[in-house]
Symmetry: C2
Subunit: 276 residues, 2 copies
């Protein structure tokens, strides 16, 4: 069992609790972020902290710590837990609101877990996705609200798929927990420009891609994705994962593409440079 940091205390996991009056329990209100460690070193921590503080600010949640204090706590937790390959989740709940509706000072929770690696089978053969008409509320914010994503899992399983892509007014947006990229027929890398969470892996891929091919953000109609040469998802946990089928239609030749593999290699090399 790992240690959890909560409001100035390190507690054993089974003792880390919030009162039922917290706005997270009352109103599903809170923000979080999630990053990885490799060899006990956090990857791209400043990018994640930028996003976390922005999410909290947008949802009017005040934090009990500043950025330096938060960093110190994260490093202390990493030292205490010693889980070299891990995922770390920072949550700021809506807090204890006097009227049960107005955001208060957030309860700050930091949790660390061993990383569950993506299966080799999925990395090698790619995954199948379905689509669903939806857009997250306030998509630039990493809020804790995953009602739709959690609820759709049954449909994902029934259709023997691995994930669900949200589509809004015929434009693709994002997966519940990942961004999407495509290589179009002209050999250009594209990812949705609007109404998505600004993923950190997405940002790194956009920065690395020009070594291989031109890359841009754009509004992408669903039918363009169906005609893509390659499609992949990006996330902190999955890094870069090929998508080979959408709504029962094969993408390209139904196998992970060469550009997807090359970008995966570039990205892992970037990770390794970062932790050296």
């Amino acid at each position: 069992m790992s240690w959890i940091y909560i409001n100035d205390h390190f507690l054993e996991e089974d003792k880390a609790a919030v009162n039922v009056n917290d706005l997270a329990v009352q109103r599903g209100y809170g923000v979080f972020d999630f990053f990885r460690t490799r060899d006990n070193k956090p990857l791209f921590l400043d990018d994640y902290l930028d996003r976390f503080f922005n999410s909290a600010k947008t949802l009017f949640i005040s934090l009990p710590v500043n950025r330096e204090q938060l960093k110190n706590v994260i490093y202390a937790l990493i030292g205490k837990n010693n889980i070299p390959e891990s995922g770390i989740r920072i949550t700021a709940t809506g807090g204890y609101s006097p009227d049960g509706y107005t955001p208060a000072q957030g309860n700050l929770i930091i949790q660390q877990q061993p990383l569950i690696p993506v299966s080799e089978e999925k990395k090698e053969h790619g995954i199948k996705i379905i689509t669903h008409e939806y857009m997250r509320d306030l998509p630039a914010v990493k809020s804790i609200n995953y009602v739709m994503g959690v609820w759709l899992q049954k449909q994902v399983k029934e259709k023997q798929a691995d994930d669900v892509l949200y589509v809004k007014n015929n434009l693709i947006t994002e997966f519940p927990r990942s961004n999407i990229f495509m290589v179009n027929g002209g050999g250009k890398l594209l990812t949705p420009a609007n109404n998505v969470l600004a993923g950190i892996t997405r940002k790194k891929v956009l920065a690395l891609a020009p070594e291989i091919l031109p890359a841009a953000t754009a509004d992408i109609p669903l039918h363009e994705l169906k005609n893509a040469a390659e499609v992949f998802m990006t996330s902190t946990t999955k890094r870069i994962l090929p998508v080979v089928e959408m709504d029962g239609i094969k993408i390209g030749d139904g196998r992970p593409g060469a550009i997807t593999k090359a970008l995966y290699k570039l990205f892992t090399q970037m990770e390794e440079r970062t932790i050296k």
Copy 2:
């Protein structure tokens, strides 16, 4: 401080907590319901329990009690707390999910608080509302997700309004925590038919209205609301509350209407019959 029931135990309010791994904290995932007591008697309890069990079922949350057991616990809590005029909230969180994403057995929480009555000023003079383009996810479900409603409070205050009405594709739907009704120029009572929570007060008003005027559910374009003779909201806490201004435009003559007042009287009489 009142007693809280949580998973088979009655605890003092400050000791009622859920572990941070609960899906409510991790994913904002849970359902709830909220009813009133008068003179220590629950009002329309069966209607609320129907909705609560339906919400839990739709979100795949299994409950640790059946309907009879839940009723017994509610009556036991009412007896222990002795808060004759109260609001009781039943919450079922998404529970402790092994993968942090799939709903598990819900943690059941029952809380009772003294009722904060609506101000006489608002009852007498009515309230002002603004509108916002939005529809709740899975609107038939009373989920704990109020990210949009909580977030919009700043705009409501800035515009010196009291609440915000969600409008989707030019059709009015509901307030974050209340339903809406209008009396049109032809003397008919209307409330949105689709994409709203089936409010219990809404249901009772629809049942009572024919004593005074014809009533129906319908798709209501925003411009019809602007030309309404009377508008009011319904909710468990507010019962029936007149709306006299929308987006800076007066409704009718800007004062609570005669039909709104007559329905309020009928509704409170119905409450009194119920608890006798």
